[in-house]
Symmetry: C2
DNA sequence: GGAAATGATGTAATCATTTACACGCTTGTG
DNA sequence: CACAAGCGTGTAAATGATTACATCATTTCC
């Protein structure tokens, strides 16, 4: 069942059927109705590949993320998918994992699929060694790219992000301003956004005249950052004699690990120790006490990404970089 | 840059280029090498739409889920996407929400995209009123469908699921066998899987000779089931004089709501009240005490879905329904 | 040495659309 | 009344691959 069958049944040419299908104004109402009737009762569905060939697009956006099961990324996926869908674009998912090689092939695959645009989630797509970013420059030549929470200057690459440095700084300052003296900083990423957050932590100390103690910087490897890993690591630190009265984490799950530690070590939150997370995930409400966390405006970022993509695809001039301001959401794990 | 350009540059016909691209054995090594060289230094990428038109497939699977931000569904998405990708299939995502209409159009859209197969996540895709399932029967005519945790008898519809009834029964029996007398049952779904779980709860009571008290069946509406909603609802029940010494939930987040309630009501877990969740989500470890939960073998289910899909696409005969057995993972929220 | 088999390559049909262009008919205008 | 404009429609040329079939050269076998 193809457009030719329909045209025969309706007694018109295939061009006319095509016009009806594409809502062209150059069809008389009577003809349109007749063709529509035939289409409806034949159950005909236009062939998407032929259409794609003719129009050179199948209205598809590629969504790349390291791990779709991660709370933050899956939230972003949901936002993006919905917004793109409402604009009649479908999304192809590519969960590439963390290795450079996998990301590169992920991007290549989507390119060979002729997607109209790509969204790269998380600054881990940008390598610290600039030479490794060639795959992005390469891809950007044939397709517009938007980075979620990443920063990269290149033609046809757009960036939408949260000012993680400022948000982290405010979180740390809030801890200092509520009487905390020694803030343990838990982080898990050394890429763009990870560096910005760390810089925010440092800036806060500087602003409040507190000296940085390197002992308080606590890095966790991607595959060694479960709540239990964190708990155990902090217990270890305590044993070693490192003292702290607050924890600031670059991600909520790390903060929850810190809360686990507090329970194990018999410390009360926030009386003996304050805790602040990052991302303001849904499970900030799961814990007891509820977790103070940084809302980094994911919804707004996603909405703006979709806007930007649509603009670019329509050939409009769009801002290369848009920055949103995060916000510390105060809950029970920090003092007043 | 198309196949014709390549053929000219390499001094061969387009058929030969196509053969090289498709790893056909009917090409001499010398020619293959020459063509590959041209392809590599021209940066040529075959046009996916033309290819799709010729082969009548773009190796794409449609993944439908109500909400990609849900922990369970995003976990499934990640498993499925990875397994399909490793078999050279891309996944198109469609988060349809909960209304029948949205699901119907979601399925239609993917059908019109000519996906090779579709995976429908969650039994909420199956309506209790059978007439509303016509959209599934319709879609199954043109594309193989696999239901994750759903059950539906229809040609070209395959089902892969966990025996939720049995798993729930075992969870409830464990509660009864460890001294609990009155188990509050929290649930949020009345579709297939929801009914099975409830039946499991009932069966457990029957097996242990405990009479069912309807007061202990506690339903939560989809948009009124946050941890705080649950906590408040249980506080309310306590005020009304409903007594219980255990909570069995049809989903982990409901169980966490019950733990919130325990904290608010000053009850100790598991001494005063046991709690069991369902899905064995990653955040079962986040809570204090850690949450006993039912592992419903999502990974195995997803792997089997992908196997089944591949078999079907290769024209093999595949089992219509495969059932896995869940397992109660004992942690600290239940007694020994 | 000639028939047959094999192997590499090219020719051209096919896939199902979109769309530029052409054509004829009606209507409006000077 | 002639001519232009516009509208509805059809014809046919793209779009860029795959692949059945034909062709030609080479080897194999009797």
């Amino acid at each position: 069942m193809n457009i030719y069958d329909i045209s025969k049944r309706a007694g018109v040419s295939i061009a006319t059927v095509s016009r009806v299908l594409n809502d062209s104004p150059h069809v008389s109402p009577a003809t349109r109705q007749r063709v529509m009737a035939v289409i409806n009762d034949s159950g005909y569905v236009p062939n998407a590949f032929a259409r794609g060939l003719g129009l050179n697009t199948m209205k598809t956006i590629g969504l790349l993320c390291p791990d779709a099961s991660d709370t933050y990324q899956s939230q972003a996926l949901a936002y993006l998918e919905n917004a793109f869908r409402s604009r009649n674009y479908d999304c192809v998912l590519s969960c590439t994992g963390k290795t450079l090689e996998a990301r590169t092939t992920g991007v290549e695959q989507l390119k060979s699929r002729h997607v109209d645009g790509m969204v790269l989630m998380g600054s881990s797509f940008i390598e610290n060694n600039d030479k490794d970013n060639d795959y992005i420059r390469q891809a950007a030549k044939s397709v517009p790219l938007i980075l979620l929470n990443g920063s990269f200057a290149c033609e046809r690459v757009y960036c939408v992000l949260c000012d993680d440095q400022r948000a982290t700084m405010e979180a740390a300052q809030h801890l200092l301003d509520t009487g905390c003296k020694r803030i343990l900083y838990l982080y898990h990423s050394k890429n763009y956004s990870g560096r910005k957050k760390l810089a925010g932590y440092r800036a806060a100390l500087k602003n409040r005249g507190v000296e940085l103690d390197d002992e308080l910087l606590c890095y966790f490897d991607q595959d060694k950052m479960s709540v239990l890993d964190v708990r155990d690591h902090l217990l270890e630190m305590e044993k070693k004699g490192v003292s702290f009265d607050a924890v600031l984490a670059s991600e909520d799950s790390l903060a929850i690990g810190a809360m686990k530690y507090a329970r194990a070590a018999g410390k009360r939150i926030p009386e003996d120790m304050s805790v602040v997370g990052y991302n303001n995930s849904s499970f900030c409400l799961f814990t007891e006490p509820e977790l103070t966390s940084v809302d980094n405006k994911l919804k707004a970022i996603c909405d703006h990404i979709v806007e930007t993509m649509m603009g670019v695809l329509e050939g409009k001039e769009m801002p290369q970089k848009t920055v949103f301001t995060g916000e510390v959401v105060l809950r029970q794990s920090t003092r007043k």
